[in-house]
Protein backbone atom coordinates (compact mmCIF):
# COMPACT_ATOMS: atom_id res chain seq x y z
CA UNK A 1 0.00 0.00 0.00
CA UNK A 2 2.77 2.35 0.97
CA UNK A 3 4.66 1.45 -2.17
CA UNK A 4 1.53 2.18 -4.22
CA UNK A 5 1.08 5.59 -2.61
CA UNK A 6 4.76 6.35 -3.12
CA UNK A 7 4.46 5.45 -6.82
CA UNK A 8 1.37 7.62 -7.13
CA UNK A 9 3.08 10.56 -5.43
CA UNK A 10 6.19 10.13 -7.57
CA UNK A 11 4.05 10.01 -10.69
CA UNK A 12 2.20 13.17 -9.68
CA UNK A 13 5.48 14.93 -8.91
CA UNK A 14 6.96 13.89 -12.25
CA UNK A 15 3.82 15.06 -14.06
CA UNK A 16 3.94 18.41 -12.25
CA UNK A 17 7.64 18.80 -13.03
CA UNK A 18 7.07 17.95 -16.68
CA UNK A 19 4.22 20.45 -16.92
CA UNK A 20 6.33 23.11 -15.24
CA UNK A 21 9.30 22.47 -17.52
CA UNK A 22 7.03 22.57 -20.56
CA UNK A 23 6.13 26.09 -19.45
CA UNK A 24 2.80 27.46 -18.41
CA UNK A 25 2.43 29.51 -21.60
CA UNK A 26 3.01 27.78 -24.89
CA UNK A 27 2.89 29.71 -28.14
CA UNK A 28 2.66 27.99 -31.50
CA UNK A 29 2.93 29.84 -34.81
CA UNK A 30 1.73 28.06 -37.96
CA UNK A 31 3.33 27.84 -40.45
CA UNK A 32 6.62 27.73 -38.63
CA UNK A 33 8.83 30.49 -39.97
CA UNK A 34 12.56 30.81 -40.40
CA UNK A 35 14.62 32.64 -37.78
CA UNK A 36 14.16 36.39 -37.67
CA UNK A 37 17.07 37.80 -39.69
CA UNK A 38 19.50 40.38 -38.39
CA UNK A 39 19.45 43.36 -40.71
CA UNK A 40 22.34 45.81 -40.45
CA UNK A 41 21.25 49.34 -39.61
CA UNK A 42 22.37 50.69 -42.98
CA UNK A 43 20.47 47.98 -44.85
CA UNK A 44 17.07 48.56 -43.26
CA UNK A 45 14.25 49.95 -45.36
CA UNK A 46 11.15 51.89 -44.36
CA UNK A 47 7.80 50.16 -44.11
CA UNK A 48 4.24 51.46 -43.95
CA UNK A 49 1.23 49.48 -42.85
CA UNK A 50 -2.52 49.72 -42.52
CA UNK A 51 -4.53 47.65 -40.10
CA UNK A 52 -7.93 46.03 -39.78
CA UNK A 53 -8.56 44.44 -36.41
CA UNK A 54 -11.46 42.10 -35.63
CA UNK A 55 -12.19 40.70 -32.20
CA UNK A 56 -14.03 37.39 -32.39
CA UNK A 57 -16.19 37.02 -29.32
CA UNK A 58 -16.50 33.26 -29.68
CA UNK A 59 -14.00 30.98 -31.42
CA UNK A 60 -11.81 32.41 -34.17
CA UNK A 61 -13.59 31.69 -37.43
CA UNK A 62 -12.42 33.73 -40.46
CA UNK A 63 -15.77 33.14 -42.18
CA UNK A 64 -17.82 34.38 -39.24
CA UNK A 65 -19.65 37.69 -39.44
CA UNK A 66 -21.76 37.41 -36.28
CA UNK A 67 -20.12 37.84 -32.89
CA UNK A 68 -17.28 39.77 -34.50
CA UNK A 69 -16.37 43.30 -33.40
CA UNK A 70 -14.47 45.35 -35.98
CA UNK A 71 -12.34 47.86 -34.08
CA UNK A 72 -12.55 51.52 -35.10
CA UNK A 73 -11.51 54.91 -33.74
CA UNK A 74 -9.37 54.85 -30.59
CA UNK A 75 -9.76 51.06 -30.26
CA UNK A 76 -8.09 50.63 -33.65
CA UNK A 77 -5.45 53.24 -32.76
CA UNK A 78 -4.42 51.26 -29.65
CA UNK A 79 -4.03 48.07 -31.67
CA UNK A 80 -2.19 49.90 -34.47
CA UNK A 81 0.31 51.15 -31.88
CA UNK A 82 0.86 47.55 -30.69
CA UNK A 83 1.41 46.31 -34.24
CA UNK A 84 3.74 49.23 -34.93
CA UNK A 85 5.74 48.43 -31.78
CA UNK A 86 5.93 44.77 -32.84
CA UNK A 87 7.24 45.73 -36.30
CA UNK A 88 9.81 48.06 -34.70
CA UNK A 89 10.87 45.30 -32.28
CA UNK A 90 11.82 43.00 -35.17
CA UNK A 91 14.74 45.37 -35.82
CA UNK A 92 14.32 44.87 -39.56
CA UNK A 93 13.06 48.34 -40.51
CA UNK A 94 14.50 51.84 -40.45
CA UNK A 95 11.10 53.49 -39.98
CA UNK A 96 7.61 52.11 -39.35
CA UNK A 97 4.54 54.23 -40.01
CA UNK A 98 0.84 53.68 -40.50
CA UNK A 99 -0.35 54.80 -43.93
CA UNK A 100 -3.83 54.25 -45.27
CA UNK A 101 -2.64 54.75 -48.85
CA UNK A 102 0.52 52.93 -49.93
CA UNK A 103 3.31 54.86 -51.62
CA UNK A 104 4.78 53.41 -54.79
CA UNK A 105 8.36 53.66 -53.52
CA UNK A 106 7.85 52.12 -50.06
CA UNK A 107 7.28 48.61 -48.75
CA UNK A 108 3.66 48.47 -47.57
CA UNK A 109 1.73 45.84 -45.62
CA UNK A 110 -2.06 45.71 -45.44
CA UNK A 111 -2.57 43.77 -42.22
CA UNK A 112 -5.72 42.10 -41.00
CA UNK A 113 -5.62 40.75 -37.48
CA UNK A 114 -8.35 38.48 -36.14
CA UNK A 115 -8.22 37.62 -32.46
CA UNK A 116 -10.22 35.44 -30.10
CA UNK A 117 -9.56 34.90 -26.42
CA UNK A 118 -11.04 32.29 -24.13
CA UNK A 119 -10.46 33.33 -20.53
CA UNK A 120 -11.36 29.94 -19.07
CA UNK A 121 -13.33 30.36 -15.85
CA UNK A 122 -12.26 34.03 -15.60
CA UNK A 123 -9.96 33.04 -12.69
CA UNK A 124 -13.00 31.93 -10.68
CA UNK A 125 -11.53 28.42 -10.25
CA UNK A 126 -8.38 29.99 -8.78
CA UNK A 127 -10.43 32.11 -6.37
CA UNK A 128 -12.81 29.36 -5.34
CA UNK A 129 -10.11 26.73 -4.78
CA UNK A 130 -7.47 29.09 -3.34
CA UNK A 131 -5.18 28.40 -6.29
CA UNK A 132 -5.31 24.61 -6.09
CA UNK A 133 -7.19 24.16 -9.38
CA UNK A 134 -5.55 25.51 -12.54
CA UNK A 135 -7.25 27.83 -15.03
CA UNK A 136 -6.61 27.55 -18.76
CA UNK A 137 -6.60 30.63 -20.98
CA UNK A 138 -6.43 30.31 -24.74
CA UNK A 139 -5.71 32.99 -27.34
CA UNK A 140 -6.05 32.51 -31.08
CA UNK A 141 -4.62 35.06 -33.50
CA UNK A 142 -4.74 35.08 -37.30
CA UNK A 143 -2.56 37.58 -39.14
CA UNK A 144 -3.19 38.02 -42.86
CA UNK A 145 -0.93 40.34 -44.81
CA UNK A 146 -0.97 41.70 -48.34
CA UNK A 147 2.53 43.01 -49.01
CA UNK A 148 3.43 45.42 -51.80
CA UNK A 149 7.11 46.03 -52.46
CA UNK A 150 8.37 48.43 -55.15
CA UNK A 151 8.92 46.58 -58.40
CA UNK A 152 7.40 43.33 -57.13
CA UNK A 153 3.98 41.75 -57.51
CA UNK A 154 1.95 41.81 -54.32
CA UNK A 155 2.27 38.81 -52.05
CA UNK A 156 -0.15 37.34 -49.52
CA UNK A 157 0.79 35.72 -46.22
CA UNK A 158 -1.16 34.20 -43.34
CA UNK A 159 0.09 33.11 -39.92
CA UNK A 160 -2.02 31.63 -37.17
CA UNK A 161 -0.82 31.67 -33.58
CA UNK A 162 -2.27 29.73 -30.70
CA UNK A 163 -1.26 30.52 -27.16
CA UNK A 164 -2.27 28.45 -24.16
CA UNK A 165 -1.60 29.71 -20.65
CA UNK A 166 -2.07 27.65 -17.51
CA UNK A 167 -2.63 29.86 -14.50
CA UNK A 168 -1.88 27.76 -11.46
CA UNK A 169 -0.23 28.78 -8.21
CA UNK A 170 2.66 26.24 -8.36
CA UNK A 171 3.53 27.51 -11.85
CA UNK A 172 3.35 31.20 -10.92
CA UNK A 173 7.15 31.78 -10.77
CA UNK A 174 7.57 30.26 -14.23
CA UNK A 175 4.61 32.23 -15.53
CA UNK A 176 6.03 35.52 -14.23
CA UNK A 177 9.43 34.68 -15.69
CA UNK A 178 7.85 33.90 -19.06
CA UNK A 179 5.84 37.11 -18.94
CA UNK A 180 9.09 39.04 -18.66
CA UNK A 181 11.23 37.02 -21.07
CA UNK A 182 8.97 35.37 -23.65
CA UNK A 183 8.02 37.32 -26.77
CA UNK A 184 4.22 37.68 -26.65
CA UNK A 185 1.96 36.05 -29.26
CA UNK A 186 1.48 39.14 -31.45
CA UNK A 187 5.24 39.74 -31.47
CA UNK A 188 5.99 36.13 -32.44
CA UNK A 189 3.41 36.33 -35.24
CA UNK A 190 4.89 39.55 -36.60
CA UNK A 191 8.37 38.03 -36.26
CA UNK A 192 7.20 35.10 -38.42
CA UNK A 193 5.82 37.46 -41.07
CA UNK A 194 9.01 39.54 -41.20
CA UNK A 195 11.18 36.40 -41.33
CA UNK A 196 9.14 35.20 -44.31
CA UNK A 197 9.45 38.61 -46.00
CA UNK A 198 13.21 38.36 -45.56
CA UNK A 199 13.26 34.81 -46.97
CA UNK A 200 11.33 36.07 -50.00
CA UNK A 201 13.81 38.91 -50.52
CA UNK A 202 11.34 41.68 -49.74
CA UNK A 203 13.42 43.31 -47.02
CA UNK A 204 16.47 44.09 -49.13
CA UNK A 205 16.79 47.84 -49.45
CA UNK A 206 17.05 49.05 -53.02
CA UNK A 207 20.14 51.08 -53.66
Amino acid sequence: MNAGLRALATGALLAATFTALAGCRSITVVPEAARLPTVAAGQRRDVTFDLRYDRHLLALDPAATDDVVAYDGEDLYVEAQRVRDALVATGAFADVRRARTPRADTLHCDLHVRYAFDAGTQLMSIVLTAGVAPDRHRGDLLLEAVVRAPGRTQARYAFRTESVTWIWVPLLPIGLGQLALQRPPLQQTVDALVAQLAADGLLAAER
Binding site: V69, A70, Y71, D72, G73, E74, D75, L76, Y77, V78, A80, R98
Partner: protein, 208 residues
Protein backbone atom coordinates in the same frame (compact mmCIF):
# COMPACT_ATOMS: atom_id res chain seq x y z
CA UNK B 1 -17.84 58.12 18.65
CA UNK B 2 -14.85 59.20 16.59
CA UNK B 3 -15.36 56.19 14.37
CA UNK B 4 -18.91 57.29 13.67
CA UNK B 5 -17.65 60.70 12.57
CA UNK B 6 -14.93 59.28 10.36
CA UNK B 7 -17.12 56.59 8.78
CA UNK B 8 -19.03 58.93 6.40
CA UNK B 9 -15.73 60.45 5.26
CA UNK B 10 -14.26 57.01 4.61
CA UNK B 11 -17.42 56.01 2.75
CA UNK B 12 -17.24 59.14 0.62
CA UNK B 13 -13.58 58.46 -0.18
CA UNK B 14 -14.40 54.87 -1.08
CA UNK B 15 -17.32 55.94 -3.25
CA UNK B 16 -15.30 58.56 -5.14
CA UNK B 17 -13.60 56.09 -7.50
CA UNK B 18 -16.86 54.28 -8.10
CA UNK B 19 -18.62 57.52 -8.95
CA UNK B 20 -16.15 57.94 -11.79
CA UNK B 21 -15.09 60.98 -13.69
CA UNK B 22 -17.67 63.67 -14.23
CA UNK B 23 -15.82 66.95 -13.77
CA UNK B 24 -14.65 68.89 -16.79
CA UNK B 25 -13.69 72.34 -18.01
CA UNK B 26 -14.55 73.49 -21.49
CA UNK B 27 -13.14 76.25 -23.64
CA UNK B 28 -14.42 76.87 -27.15
CA UNK B 29 -13.60 79.12 -30.06
CA UNK B 30 -15.72 81.10 -30.67
CA UNK B 31 -17.03 81.58 -27.13
CA UNK B 32 -20.81 82.12 -27.10
CA UNK B 33 -22.04 85.61 -26.31
CA UNK B 34 -23.15 85.91 -22.70
CA UNK B 35 -26.49 87.47 -23.62
CA UNK B 36 -27.44 84.39 -25.65
CA UNK B 37 -26.63 81.73 -23.09
CA UNK B 38 -30.31 80.78 -22.83
CA UNK B 39 -31.80 79.16 -25.90
CA UNK B 40 -35.02 80.61 -27.31
CA UNK B 41 -37.91 78.24 -28.01
CA UNK B 42 -37.84 76.92 -31.56
CA UNK B 43 -40.24 73.95 -31.76
CA UNK B 44 -38.58 72.36 -34.76
CA UNK B 45 -37.39 68.82 -35.38
CA UNK B 46 -33.75 67.85 -35.91
CA UNK B 47 -32.34 64.99 -37.98
CA UNK B 48 -28.69 64.30 -37.28
CA UNK B 49 -25.83 62.49 -39.01
CA UNK B 50 -22.47 62.23 -37.27
CA UNK B 51 -19.09 61.56 -38.93
CA UNK B 52 -16.66 61.03 -36.09
CA UNK B 53 -12.90 60.53 -36.24
CA UNK B 54 -10.23 59.85 -33.64
CA UNK B 55 -6.82 61.39 -34.14
CA UNK B 56 -3.80 60.87 -31.88
CA UNK B 57 -2.87 63.56 -29.36
CA UNK B 58 0.50 64.98 -30.40
CA UNK B 59 2.25 68.06 -28.95
CA UNK B 60 -0.89 69.27 -27.21
CA UNK B 61 -3.04 69.08 -30.34
CA UNK B 62 -4.60 66.73 -32.87
CA UNK B 63 -2.51 64.87 -35.43
CA UNK B 64 -4.89 65.35 -38.36
CA UNK B 65 -2.57 63.41 -40.69
CA UNK B 66 -3.24 60.11 -38.89
CA UNK B 67 -7.03 59.75 -38.69
CA UNK B 68 -8.88 56.72 -37.33
CA UNK B 69 -12.54 57.02 -38.42
CA UNK B 70 -15.10 55.88 -35.89
CA UNK B 71 -17.05 53.98 -38.52
CA UNK B 72 -18.03 50.93 -36.49
CA UNK B 73 -19.12 50.28 -32.94
CA UNK B 74 -17.60 53.50 -31.55
CA UNK B 75 -19.15 55.50 -34.40
CA UNK B 76 -22.61 54.20 -33.52
CA UNK B 77 -22.05 55.06 -29.86
CA UNK B 78 -20.82 58.52 -30.77
CA UNK B 79 -23.85 59.20 -32.98
CA UNK B 80 -26.16 58.14 -30.16
CA UNK B 81 -24.20 60.25 -27.67
CA UNK B 82 -24.61 63.37 -29.85
CA UNK B 83 -28.28 62.61 -30.52
CA UNK B 84 -28.81 62.41 -26.77
CA UNK B 85 -26.88 65.66 -26.27
CA UNK B 86 -29.09 67.57 -28.73
CA UNK B 87 -32.25 65.95 -27.35
CA UNK B 88 -31.30 66.96 -23.80
CA UNK B 89 -31.38 70.65 -24.77
CA UNK B 90 -35.21 70.69 -24.94
CA UNK B 91 -34.77 73.07 -27.86
CA UNK B 92 -35.91 70.66 -30.56
CA UNK B 93 -39.27 68.89 -30.53
CA UNK B 94 -37.73 65.65 -31.75
CA UNK B 95 -34.16 64.57 -32.47
CA UNK B 96 -33.51 61.54 -34.68
CA UNK B 97 -30.57 60.03 -36.52
CA UNK B 98 -31.23 60.35 -40.24
CA UNK B 99 -30.01 61.69 -43.56
CA UNK B 100 -32.95 63.82 -44.68
CA UNK B 101 -34.24 67.06 -43.17
CA UNK B 102 -37.59 66.56 -41.44
CA UNK B 103 -40.56 68.46 -42.97
CA UNK B 104 -40.73 70.86 -40.04
CA UNK B 105 -37.15 71.10 -39.05
CA UNK B 106 -33.50 71.01 -40.01
CA UNK B 107 -30.87 68.42 -40.74
CA UNK B 108 -27.45 68.66 -39.14
CA UNK B 109 -24.36 66.93 -40.51
CA UNK B 110 -21.87 67.00 -37.68
CA UNK B 111 -18.18 66.25 -38.27
CA UNK B 112 -16.37 65.49 -35.04
CA UNK B 113 -12.59 65.15 -34.85
CA UNK B 114 -11.20 64.46 -31.41
CA UNK B 115 -8.36 62.88 -29.49
CA UNK B 116 -7.46 62.46 -25.84
CA UNK B 117 -4.18 62.94 -24.04
CA UNK B 118 -2.96 59.46 -23.06
CA UNK B 119 -2.11 58.76 -19.45
CA UNK B 120 1.44 57.87 -18.60
CA UNK B 121 2.08 54.38 -17.26
CA UNK B 122 3.05 55.63 -13.82
CA UNK B 123 -0.14 57.71 -13.53
CA UNK B 124 -2.23 54.69 -14.50
CA UNK B 125 -0.36 52.59 -11.96
CA UNK B 126 -0.70 55.24 -9.25
CA UNK B 127 -4.41 55.59 -10.03
CA UNK B 128 -4.81 51.82 -9.74
CA UNK B 129 -2.83 51.52 -6.51
CA UNK B 130 -4.74 54.37 -4.84
CA UNK B 131 -8.11 53.02 -6.05
CA UNK B 132 -8.48 56.14 -8.14
CA UNK B 133 -7.92 58.57 -5.28
CA UNK B 134 -5.04 60.22 -7.12
CA UNK B 135 -6.84 62.30 -9.72
CA UNK B 136 -5.11 63.68 -12.77
CA UNK B 137 -6.21 65.82 -15.64
CA UNK B 138 -6.44 64.88 -19.29
CA UNK B 139 -6.82 67.23 -22.24
CA UNK B 140 -9.14 66.42 -25.11
CA UNK B 141 -9.02 68.71 -28.14
CA UNK B 142 -12.09 68.59 -30.35
CA UNK B 143 -12.94 70.12 -33.69
CA UNK B 144 -16.61 70.35 -34.63
CA UNK B 145 -18.00 71.30 -38.01
CA UNK B 146 -21.77 71.43 -38.30
CA UNK B 147 -23.74 71.97 -41.49
CA UNK B 148 -27.41 72.67 -40.92
CA UNK B 149 -29.81 72.34 -43.86
CA UNK B 150 -33.57 72.69 -44.09
CA UNK B 151 -36.01 71.01 -46.49
CA UNK B 152 -35.80 74.02 -48.83
CA UNK B 153 -32.06 73.48 -49.28
CA UNK B 154 -30.92 76.52 -47.31
CA UNK B 155 -27.75 75.79 -45.33
CA UNK B 156 -25.86 77.28 -42.42
CA UNK B 157 -22.39 76.22 -41.33
CA UNK B 158 -20.60 76.70 -38.07
CA UNK B 159 -17.32 75.51 -36.62
CA UNK B 160 -16.24 75.16 -33.00
CA UNK B 161 -12.82 74.33 -31.63
CA UNK B 162 -12.98 73.03 -28.09
CA UNK B 163 -10.61 71.79 -25.44
CA UNK B 164 -12.10 69.61 -22.74
CA UNK B 165 -10.03 69.14 -19.61
CA UNK B 166 -11.44 66.31 -17.54
CA UNK B 167 -10.36 64.95 -14.21
CA UNK B 168 -9.70 61.24 -14.27
CA UNK B 169 -10.50 59.72 -10.92
CA UNK B 170 -10.46 56.02 -11.64
CA UNK B 171 -8.49 53.61 -13.76
CA UNK B 172 -11.14 53.40 -16.47
CA UNK B 173 -11.27 57.14 -16.96
CA UNK B 174 -7.54 57.29 -17.76
CA UNK B 175 -8.31 55.62 -21.08
CA UNK B 176 -8.60 57.31 -24.43
CA UNK B 177 -12.39 57.29 -24.30
CA UNK B 178 -14.48 59.28 -21.84
CA UNK B 179 -17.43 57.49 -20.27
CA UNK B 180 -19.60 60.54 -19.58
CA UNK B 181 -21.24 62.96 -22.02
CA UNK B 182 -21.37 66.28 -20.14
CA UNK B 183 -19.03 68.06 -22.60
CA UNK B 184 -21.08 66.89 -25.60
CA UNK B 185 -24.22 68.36 -24.05
CA UNK B 186 -22.55 71.73 -23.54
CA UNK B 187 -21.04 71.68 -27.03
CA UNK B 188 -24.42 70.78 -28.56
CA UNK B 189 -25.87 73.78 -26.71
CA UNK B 190 -23.21 76.11 -28.07
CA UNK B 191 -23.65 74.80 -31.63
CA UNK B 192 -27.41 75.22 -31.32
CA UNK B 193 -26.95 78.78 -30.09
CA UNK B 194 -25.05 79.54 -33.30
CA UNK B 195 -27.92 77.95 -35.24
CA UNK B 196 -30.57 79.77 -33.22
CA UNK B 197 -29.04 83.09 -34.23
CA UNK B 198 -30.09 82.28 -37.80
CA UNK B 199 -33.26 84.23 -38.63
CA UNK B 200 -34.59 81.46 -40.91
CA UNK B 201 -34.65 79.03 -37.99
CA UNK B 202 -36.45 81.57 -35.82
CA UNK B 203 -39.09 82.17 -38.50
CA UNK B 204 -39.53 78.43 -39.10
CA UNK B 205 -40.12 77.88 -35.42
CA UNK B 206 -42.58 80.78 -35.23
CA UNK B 207 -44.58 79.53 -38.21
CA UNK B 208 -45.53 76.21 -36.54
Amino acid sequence: MAAARIAPLLLALAAAPLAGCTGFELTTTPEPAAERLALPDAHIDLALTVASTFTPFVDGGLDLDDPYPRDGRLGERDAERWRGAFAALDYFDDVTLGDAPPPHGVHCHLEVTSGREPSSEWLRTASFLTLGLLPHRQREPMLLRATFADADGATARCELRATIVSTATRLDSTRLRRDFDGPERELARRLTMLLAADERVRSRGASR
